[in-house]
């Protein structure tokens, strides 16, 4: 699938692509933060026949329902905004001491100061997991913190 990206001078950016069933879909990202979800007309493929206007919160909600990438993108943005803050994605390997154990056991925040903000499992996102969330091998843990503390989390998840 190929996503086309087009600059809209003075407005923002548009991404669009055609689904396998032949429907063209796009998202217009306004500089103001507004997002438009756009469905194109089948008779007139250049025309947006449906435009759904989304504010920040609504766009986030839709993205969370649709999948993980949006969360990572948001974290990257956060990371850009706050100097010194990084977000990393750490896989839980099959031989990790915490595979099959609740997140609370790792005591990540107490030991490193970094926070686990989400876990991605098979395309699903578990945002803000609690201490009794049980890790599985193959999970991807999204951690936010300083450069050093996130590296420590990687060590903990790999070796205990």
């Amino acid at each position: 699938m190929e996503v086309e990206q087009t600059a809209l001078p003075g407005i923002g950016l548009r991404h669009d692509f055609t689904t396998r069933s032949g429907q063209r879909v796009g998202v217009v990202s306004h500089r103001t933060g507004r997002r438009d979800l756009v469905i194109y007309d089948k008779d007139d493929p250049d025309r947006a026949c449906q435009t759904v206007r989304l504010n920040d919160e609504e766009a986030d909600a839709l993205a969370e329902i649709l999948g993980a990438p949006r969360i990572v993108q948001r974290l990257n943005k956060l990371h850009q905004e706050v100097a010194g803050l990084v977000s990393v994605q750490l896989p839980i390997a099959g031989d990790s001491p915490y595979a099959g154990r609740p997140m609370g056991d790792a005591r990540v925040r107490t030991r490193t100061g970094a926070s686990i903000v989400a876990v991605v499992r098979g395309g699903r996102v578990f945002a803000s997991p609690g201490p009794d969330f049980v890790f599985q091998a193959g999970d991807v843990v999204v951690v936010v913190g300083g450069e050093d503390s996130t590296a420590e989390v990687a060590d903990i998840l790999a070796e205990g």
Partner: protein, 386 residues
């Protein structure tokens, strides 16, 4: 009555009247600019209710309005977008320039107004109102359309052309001799290039100087800088408007967005005053004799804009219906055209030029958005049949 009291009464009444007209425009769904112009015609020279006391004050307000209008127009696009449009869409941009500058220039020459007025009228018919067009695109839900980037990049190209055109026009209006005129035009063009290069290469230094987390400080710095450069440009005979425009172009990125949001209310206030003042200066008695001519000019330049949009959209691989939409979106004329006519009138061009430009913009600022709305169902019909 005390002078200040009269001034406040008159100015207050004008602003309040504009507010009511704006509300009316909103209800009908057109741009308020034509209504502001009509208000100016009614209150100015030869109008039904000439204002005596506040005219001086309003004239200064109008000057501020031009500076703020051009500053925010310059802020609209950043230097990168300007350069990209220059490289990517030069051909469509040049077609736009040639097709749409021609009607104005030809009519001025036919009327025997001379070459300088022809250059001014060329500008009046050339520039599409980016403000009104953006509103049309957003109101009709055309922003997501695939022809929209083509429309926008033409607007960017026009903006860039204006950066070169305005200094050339103002030097010509100053009526200098051929040699000193050529020198001033050279200086003006060199300044424009330097500003663009500086904005591209050293934009962050300007931003570092201007930017502030406090919106009050940012506002004062941006307006201060714009007025300072505008004054300097005026002193160099390049017109204050051009100086402010270049400041707008030099500022880009997030800073430009913040500044745009901060300046918007200030610009709306003084730009409205500017449109009224332009109406003031125009004698309503002069409008009627040129009304037919203005309508003809509007019709011709509507056709040339539609052709421009269709050509540009076809080059971008857009279908028939999209081509028609691109053309129609480009029809509205507005603030830039009045600014150009204002410069020409201020410099003593043919007295009918102001009246013709006012009538012309009245027609296209009002009719452009309506045309888009009316034609929409028709275009859908074309698409269905195709």
């Amino acid at each position: 009555m005390h002078e200040t009291a009269i001034l406040f009464l008159e100015f207050g009444a004008v602003l309040l009247g504009l507010g009511l007209l704006g509300a009316l425009a909103l209800r009908i769904g057109i741009s308020p600019i034509p209504l502001y112009l009509i208000a100016g015609l009614a209150f100015g020279t030869g109008g039904v209710l000439p204002l005596a006391t506040s005219e001086d004050f309003i004239s200064i307000g109008a000057e501020l309005g031009v500076v703020l209008l051009l500053l925010t127009l310059g802020l609209e696009y950043n230097a990168d977008e300007l350069v990209t449009s220059l490289t990517g869409n030069a051909r469509a941009g040049i077609v736009d320039l040639v097709l749409n500058a021609a009607p104005g220039a030809i009519i001025a020459l036919l009327l025997g107004w001379g070459p300088v007025a022809a250059v001014a009228m060329a500008g009046v018919t050339y520039a599409t109102s980016s403000g009104i067009t953006a509103k049309v695109l957003s109101d009709l839900g055309w922003i997501g359309n695939r022809e929209t980037p083509t429309v926008l990049s033409l607007l960017v190209f026009e903006d860039l052309t204006m950066a070169v055109y305005l200094p050339v026009l103002t030097t010509m209006l100053a009526g200098l001799s051929l040699v000193s005129g050529a020198i001033s035009v050279g200086i003006a063009l060199a300044t424009v290039s330097v500003v663009l290069v500086v904005a591209l290469r050293f934009g962050r230094f300007i931003e570092a100087f201007v930017s502030s987390p406090n919106s009050e400080v940012l506002l004062l710095k941006v307006v201060g800088l714009a007025l300072l450069v505008a004054g300097l440009a005026q002193q160099l005979q390049v017109s204050a408007a051009v100086g402010a425009f270049l400041v707008g172009i030099a500022l880009s990125g997030e800073l430009a967005e913040d500044a745009q949001a901060l300046l918007a209310p200030l610009r709306d206030l003084f730009a409205a005053v500017f449109f009224v003042f332009f109406g003031f200066q125009t004698d309503p008695a002069k409008i009627l004799p040129v009304a037919g001519l203005a309508a003809l000019l509007a019709l011709v330049s509507m056709v040339t804009k539609v052709l421009t949009g269709m050509y540009a959209a076809r080059r971008a691989g857009i279908g028939k219906a999209g081509q028609a939409r691109a053309g129609i979106a480009l029809i509205p004329r507005g603030e830039f055209n009045i600014v150009i006519a204002g410069l020409a009138v201020g410099a003593g061009a043919h007295p009918d030029l102001g009246a013709l430009a006012a009538a012309y913009v009245l027609i296209l600022a009002a009719f452009g958005p309506l045309a888009a709305k009316l034609v929409q169902p028709l275009i859908q019909g074309i698409a269905k049949r195709a």
